[in-house]
Amino acid sequence: MRNEKLDLVTGDFYTQNFQKGARENTLILNMGPQHPSTHGVLRIILELDGEYIVRAEPILGYLHRMHEKMAEVKTLVQYMPNMGRVDYGHPLAWNWAFAGAVERLGGIEVPERAEYLRVISCELNRITSHLLWWGAYILDLGAFTPIMYAFDDRERLLDILQIVTGSRLTYSSFRFGGVCADINDKFKELVNDFIPYMRTRLPMYKGLVTDNIILRKRVEEIGYFSPDMIRRYGATGPVARGSGLAYDVRRAEPYSVYNRFDWKVPVYEKGDAMARYLVRLDEIEQSLNIVEQAMASLPEGKHIVDKAPKYTWKAPKGEAYFAVEGGRGKVGVQVVSDGGKNPYKIKLRAPGFSNLSLFAEASQGTLLADAVAILGSLDLIIPEIDR
């Protein structure tokens, strides 16, 4: 783009090199990096014909924090706090993926009670993640009140999680061989209060938002992803389950004690934004089921192994991969160690990155308002995508 007045080429690399479609008389619009509905600093260059999108190109890198590089200059224990900050929505999944990979590498046994505590806190964290998404998504669609109701419930959960993890947002409470703290009576009391309470809230969510005709017209039959598309882009989590692929890491590659509980993997066949929406709301319900069963059958024992690795601990030479089901999909961590103080390389597999890549294809030919609805239905957490 050329500014005639200043005789300068304006715009950055991406604007200058954006490949327009075949159509003429189109408008190039920069959505983001500071746009209310991109949830952070995602930037999308759109080519618009009126309000219809001809071509969309997401651009990443505005929140790149070198998490993978940081791993190479820290010991494994020292890297744990980073895992709470990759994804602020569901940090415990990242905690777990990293701890699991290191435990697999070092052959560390996790006590049974610790596994239960991990399941409980991780599932509660999944509910907070979905509630955050739910509120923000409805906010994208223009209703301001549901996010406050969601945050009311989320605050209760954060209070609960604060007891066991000590913090409210960027948890780094898992340790190699257990978790950092055991639960207390207050935690049990609050969780047992919360589960029936949340079950009474879900019908309210349905009445206020899910059944609302304006919302249904906004999200039904837009942003269709076919199962083939999901496989091509490697999308996971609620996005895949909304398209009829019953892939849940907790079921597909069972880890920890998930097999002991009775729960279902919610799957919807339609593949539109509404299907993904319903999957997430159903997952809240299933997470409540898991937490309820885990609380009831919580075994006695230690919350961490006796000889938990100290910060000077050196992992044996080799590599290990561990994947868990996060709020957005498959969270995987690959740890490569050469036997030294610091890991040789850590690779983080962020589900949001794969999910975002669906956007460019799905948004073609939709309205600008639909693009916002599709983007929201992917449940993107930008720091996780950029890492």
Binding site: M80, D159, S172, A181, L208, N212, Y311
Partner: protein
């Protein structure tokens, strides 16, 4: 879909708008859930395990002194480098004492030089860098560090978050008074 069914579907769809109004209207009349912070505070029971900034644990003998033995484990364990511990120097000897030691050494006796006290001279902590991970607490050899439950921390500049934890320990001990139990409740869970 036949037209009659479609008509009833439309009515049902429009009814959903009324349901939405009913829900927000109901909450309009109900009590608010906000905790008005300066006037009210949340249940302190929840904050018992809150991990605020770190603080030193007083030694059982002297509440103004920390348990710390200046081993610097926490300094090297901290992933963010927010802890600075300065070891105490050996006490300065008067010229007569030095002379005495020299004389003794000259006589071939083994003299025990006065060693530096174990307690740290300075214990500085930069909260603005800290990620509250607890690695220092787990690394500490004598359980001298714990998380405080300080939830309400505000400041107007970066310097407000550079704490001198030795001074903090002293002021805490003074606040508690001499009569109170000298050993503060250590967070056993974290240790």
């Amino acid at each position: 879909m036949n037209p009659i069914k479609k008509f009833f579907q439309t009515i049902a769809d429009l009814w959903s708008l009324i349901v939405g109004l009913q829900i927000t209207g109901k909450y309009f009349c109900q009590r608010q859930v906000t905790v008005h912070y300066p006037r009210k505070e949340i249940d302190p029971e929840i904050n018992k395990t809150y991990r605020g900034h770190i603080e030193l644990v007083a030694s059982p003998k002297d509440p103004t002194k920390p348990k710390c033995i200046s081993c610097l484990m926490c300094v090297s364990a901290c992933p963010s480098g927010c802890i600075t511990v300065v070891k105490s120097k050996p006490p300065k000897l008067s010229p007569e004492e030095e002379q005495a030691i020299k004389d003794a050494e000259a006589r071939g006796e083994k003299v025990k030089k006065p060693s530096a006290p174990k307690e740290p001279a300075q214990w500085k902590y930069d909260f603005s860098l800290c990620s509250l991970c607890g690695t220092c607490i787990e690394a500490c050899a004598v359980d001298s560090i714990q998380f405080s439950n300080e939830l309400y921390v505000v400041g107007t500049s970066r310097n407000d978050f550079k704490y001198d934890l030795l001074a903090r320990l002293k002021s805490q001990a003074e606040k508690r008074g001499p009569v109170a139990e000298s050993k503060p409740e250590a967070e056993t869970k974290e240790a």
